[in-house]
Amino acid sequence: MKLYAAALMVVLPCLAATPDVDKNRAIGFPTAPVKLEIFSDFTCPHCRVLHETVLPQLKSDYVVNGKVYIVDRAFPLTGAGHEHSREAFEYAVAAARIGKYQQVADALYAQQATWAIGGNVWAAVASALPSPADQKKVQALAKDPGVLAEIEAEYQEAIAIGLNQTPTLVLTVGGKHYNLPPAPDYRLLKSMIDGFLPK
């Protein structure tokens, strides 16, 4: 019994530290040997570059064939230039609840230069949601305590593992985590992933 209790004491904190994956904000197969978590911010220019250039390559090279599972994580930045970060995440995570995360994320990055300065986040989000019914749902869900809690939990997780900039990629293979430097060159990222995959 004592041994069982001791084992529980070891295992429970680990389980608590492993955040749930919001499947609507992930792409690929959860069974993939490599998991790549991307902690990003919709107002960060390097995150836009990663989203628009590196991510499509990753998808075609590793996601479609089930080798890499990509999970988006919220790391809303604070301070000047990032005043609308959290609001953008509220809409994006709300859109994930109705299966429209990728469309909203694409629109937020594509129109980053406009809303990140002007503050009209909703205009960018709405442009990705042609259906008025979807728009209504997302606006309501953006205020949902569950959505706000998910963003805060991911932000706190990022802080807890020592992240301080975006985009930060955390690669997990066989339970081991590697925090990659921000915005790595795709050729090096490819070498790293290939090194973990069976030849």
Binding site: L180, P181, L188, G195
Partner: protein, 147 residues
């Protein structure tokens, strides 16, 4: 070391050699422990090295650090080993200062990933460089050992 050195100075030099050597061994070890592309990404983030040299550097530098650290601690051919250590530190420190002045928000990469360049990392590496130069200077001041 020659007899011109006082006992406290001799021990200070030995202590500095051991500290510098241990730092080099540890720095090399943590990089060898991880896959080489991880360190390569760190080198590449400085934007100082042409891309074709990034992989060879990432594959060889960590082992060179370990070897150099051991060499410095063992203390033979001290003029060469201490000069090489100082040269490495000049390069590392200059790269960090350059990144800081250029406003790059990147990791130091000194002991693996996840340590942004800051006043603290500059102070630490600057102190190591000062120690390396001090050991080198005394190595050259000391009379050559004859077989």
């Amino acid at each position: 070391m020659g007899s011109y050195q006082s006992k406290p100075l001799r021990w200070t030099l030995v202590a500095l050699r051991v500290i510098l050597g241990a730092v080099f061994i540890y720095g090399g070890y943590v990089k060898l422990r991880d896959p080489w592309p991880l360190f390569a990404m760190g080198i590449d983030s400085y934007h100082l090295v042409p891309f074709r040299f990034v992989e060879p550097l990432a594959r060889t530098l960590p082992a060179a650090e370990v070897a150099l650290g051991l060499w410095l601690i063992l203390g033979f051919w001290l003029r060469i080993s201490s000069t090489l250590v100082s040269l490495f530190l000049v390069v590392f420190f200059s790269a960090m200062v350059h990144a800081k002045l250029a406003g790059q928000q990147i990791n130091c990469g000194c002991f693996g990933p996840g340590e942004p360049i800051s006043k603290w990392t500059l102070l630490r590496d600057g102190s190591l460089l000062a120690a390396g130069l001090f050991v080198s200077w005394h190595a050259f001041r000391a009379p050559r050992r004859t077989p």
